[in-house]
Amino acid sequence: MSVSFAVFAVLNIGFVLLVSPLFMSLIKIVKARAQGRRGPRLLQTYYNLAKLLRKETIYSPVSSWVMRATPYVCLSMAVVAALFVPLLYIPEPVAGFGNVILFLYLLGLARFFTALSGLDAGSTFGGMSSSRDMSLAAVIEPTSIVVMAALAVVARSLNFLEIARNNAGMLFPASATMILIGISLFIILVVETGRIPVDNPETHLELTMVHEGMVLEQSGRNLAMMEYAGAIKQTLFIAIMVSVLMPFGPVTELSAAGVLFAMGLFVVKGSVVSVILGLFESSIAKMRFFSLPNLFIIAYFFSVLTIFIEVFA
C-alpha cells in the first residue's frame, strides 16, 4: 500500500465520519420545513449520537452473541465501504479497493447481520421487520447489481476509484446515459437507506417499520453505532451519485488547498442531494409494500436501457 493510499484512507474515512450525521439532520430539517415545523438543529444528530454513547447498553435475556456483534459488524462494514468511494482525494487504484461488486457485498453483509439481530432479540417486531427487509433485499439486490453493472459499462470500469478518476475535472456528467444511471442510483439510495416510499425512518409504527424494527432492541452505544453506520451508508450512496452527476471537486493530486476546497464542495453537493431527498420524501406517500417493485422496476428499466444504449448505439 502506497503512502498516497494511506493518506486517502485516513482522509476519506475521517471526512465520512465527520460529515455523515450532518446530512441526516439536514434531511430532517427539510422534511420538517416542508410540513411547516421548525425541525431539529443542524447538529442535532451529533448530539443524539453523543447522548446514546453515554447511555447504558441493555441486552434482551434471550439474545446471543449476534446481538452484541451486529453493531460492530455494521459500523466496520460501513467504514471499510468508505474506503471504496472517494470523496475528496482520488488515489491510484490499489488492488481490490474500489471494486463495485465487493462494495455491494460489504453492505449486503451488514444487512444480513442487521436482519439476524432483528431475529435474535426474540421480539415480534424484530422478526417481522427482518422478514420484510429480506423480502425487499431479494427484490432490490438484482436491481442494485444491474444498476452498478450499467455504471460499470458506461464508465468502462468496475472500480469506483477509476470511475471517479476518469470523471474528475468534468463539470457535467460524461454522457447522457449518466443521467439515467443517476436516476437509478437515486432510487437505490432511497431504498438502501430506508427512506419514505419504501420505509419510514421516523416512525415506530408496526405497519411501516422495516429498518426501525430491526434496531428496536438495540440500545445505548450499540444503537449509536447502528445509527452511525446508517448515516455513513447514506453518505456513501450520496457520494456515488455525486461522483456520477456532479463529478467536479475531488482532487487527483494531494494538496492541502485542493483537499479543503473538495471538502467544502462535497458538503455543498451532499447538501443539495439531501435537500432533494428531503423534498422527494415530503412530496410522496409511503408505498404499499407489495407495490414497491414498481419503484425498483424503474431503476431496472433505466439501467437496462443504459446498457443497451452504450452497447448498441
Binding site: 436516476i183 424503474i298 428499466f301
Partner: protein, 235 residues
Amino acid sequence: MIEAPFVDGIVRFIFVAIVITAVFLISARSLPFLLQTYRLQSLLLAALAVAIFFAEGSTVLLWIAALTVASKVLVIPYFIGEIQERISIRRDLEFRYLAPASSILVSIALIVGVYLSLGNILSPVHADAEPIFFFGAVIGISLMLMGMLVLFSRKKAITKVLGYLSMENGVLIFGICVTELPFIMDVMIMIDLIILVLLTTILTVGIDSTIEVYEEKIRRYSLWNSLWKAREDAP
C-alpha cells in the same frame, strides 16, 4: 453551424430525457402529472428539432419546432387541462391488462425488438454512418409502441388520449431523424390532433369513464338516441 460532437451530445441527452418521460407516461397515476409529462415530452421534441437544425441547417426543422411548441406544449395540454378541471378526477388507478411494472418490462422488450428489426432494415444506410439518427429512429418507433401500450393498458379515456398523443410524438421523432418529414404532413397531423382533443373536450360527458360506461352515459344524456333505437330494432 455548430460542431457536430457538441450537437450529438445534446441530441443524445434529449433522447434520454424523452425515454424518461415515456416511462412516466406508462407508470404515473396522477393525471396532472401525466399531462405535465406529455407537455415536457413535446417541449423536448421541439428542442430536438432545433438541435438538429443547428447541425443540418434545414429551416423546416425550425417550423416544426415552432408548430410543436404552439400546439403540443400550449394548445393541446390547455384543452386537456380544462377537461381535467371539469371532470375533477386527479388519479387514474385502473390498468387493464398490464400493471405499471409489467408494462415497463414489456417496453424494454419493445425497445430491444425495435432495435433488432430496425438494425436489419436500416443498417447498410444509416446505422454505421450516423449512429445518432439510427438511435433516434429506434427511440421514435419505441415511443410509438410505448404510446400504444398506454392506449391498451389504461382504462380511462383521458389517459388513452395522452397515450395516443405520445404515439404521435414517436412518429414525429422518426420523421425528424430518418426521413425528411414534409412540413405539410406535420401540419395535417397537428390539425388532426387538435380536432381529436377538441372532440374529447366536447364529449366530456363520458371522458371520466371507461369505454363500457361511456356508451351508457351517451344513452343517459340521450345523445344519438335514434342511432341506438335503430340498432335495437335491427333483427
